[in-house]
Amino acid sequence: MPGLKAVSASRKVPYNSVNGAARIDRGDDPDRRHAQGRVPVIPGSFDYHRPKSVQEAVALLAKLGDDGRLLAGGHSLVPAMKLRLATPGNLIDLAGIADLKGIRADGGDIVIGAMTTQHELIVSKLLADKIPLVAETSAQIADPQVRYLGTLGGNVANGDPANDMPALMLCLNATFEVSGPRGERRIAARGFYQGLYATAMQSGEVLTAIRIPVPAAGHGYAYEKLKRKIGDFATAAAAVMLTTKGGKVETCAIGLTNVADRPLFADEAAKILIGSALDAATVKRAVAAAEAITAPAEDRRGPAQYRTKMAGVMLARALGRAKSRANGGA
């Protein structure tokens, strides 16, 4: 078996998982995979920086230019570095900046430091009380170990449409606070995502906080995610936030995950629902409007058409649950 040779040979070099990868994809020639650069390896060399303040991080970014990458929780970047899909010459670890941590109320907003982890979102009493949808979404990301390190800031700033938090931020009408060489500015989440890994952040800028307006008490909410298994990205997912008055929808916002090259804000679908009692016919029209704006890629999660339909199914389920919650249910 040629694969076995690769196993023993790989023991001599600094760990590389030719053996692991060959075991995962049986029948695939490990040498060919390696040549294509798809086998996990040791990351390329880099210099490590650990600034103590946002100003210091911004100054480092300015000095290092495109050769400097910010390191948050590392659970997107480190795997990419192991595959040599990312080979930054310098990593700027944000973990030593105390100002980037924490969850606090500020007037009618909740402000979450960019380096706050998914785990910290899940156990936050303030969020459970004011915006439980955040924890509900966090709890569906990856697995416990990833959530201990993965951060909200990294999740939203990376620009990966497969991440769950971007669509949630569109749904919640969040604002991103960034610091850069020209000072601080705020960017609305709804204008932030421009395409695959393309965002409104400019090079040299650091995301420092996520500001979310607290929805009205008694609001209905849900994040429904279809995934093949724990740890997988969504086949499709939908975030819903709504308020009702006298049994009718007064406000509604919808975000969709991983069904286009960016997270989607399903504005038209939400408008269709406003004023309705979320009756079956209206929900059906809204679902159709949401499906119409999707443009998913075909991948191992299924054909494009299937993923579009699953986005519709997730939205219908999320609306159902949001409705029952708005009426005081679970």
Binding site: Y15, I42, D47, Y48, Q145, L149
Partner: protein, 166 residues
């Protein structure tokens, strides 16, 4: 690229070393320190065999650079047993309930369950399954791993372990 000086506490002992920034924590532990309890399973952040406890968090040490762990307090499977050398309740549970077959995932499973029980000392079966969902086992079907953790929770709470009826 310049090597970095790191210092961290591992299983109660302070360790100082020079590491390349790109050295992953799992390789630092296994290759430089000969702490080989945490295993390398997939090296792609999926399987959880490399799980260690870092400052009270379960992390996959294949997805953390050793330099990121500078100044931290780490517990690996080597540090789980009681100070007098007797088995920790989790280790005992895995033995009593046959919570392993090949044993490859076991260090990660126990290290993860160790943190889970610190955060929730009386988890339901569903909470255990959700809590260990970042750890893959290809032998047991998880049934006995769940029982082993239930056994440990009962023992740590000083109550008799009642196996649920099949």
């Amino acid at each position: 690229m310049a090597k970095s000086q790191v210092a961290m506490k591992i299983n109660g002992k302070t360790v100082e070393a020079l590491v390349e920034p790109r050295t992953l924590l799992i390789h630092f532990l296994r290759d430089q320190l000969n702490i080989t309890g945490p295993h390398i399973g997939c090296e792609t952040s999926h399987c959880g065999a490399c799980t260690v406890d870092l400052d009270g968090k379960s992390v996959k040490s294949c997805t953390v650079f050793a330099v990121q762990a500078n100044g931290s307090d780490i517990v690996t499977i080597e540090g789980i047993a009681n100070p007098d050398g007797t088995l920790h309740a989790l280790q005992e549970g895995f033995r009593q309930m046959h919570g392993l077959q090949c044993g490859f995932c076991t260090p990660g499973m126990i290290t993860r369950a160790y943190r889970l029980l610190q955060e929730n000392n009386n988890p339901t079966e569903a909470e255990i399954r959700y809590g260990i969902s970042g750890n893959l086992c290809r032998c047991t079907g998880y049934q006995n791993i769940v029982k082993a953790i239930q056994y440990a929770a009962a023992k740590l709470n000083g109550v008799p372990f009642q196996e649920a009826a099949e």
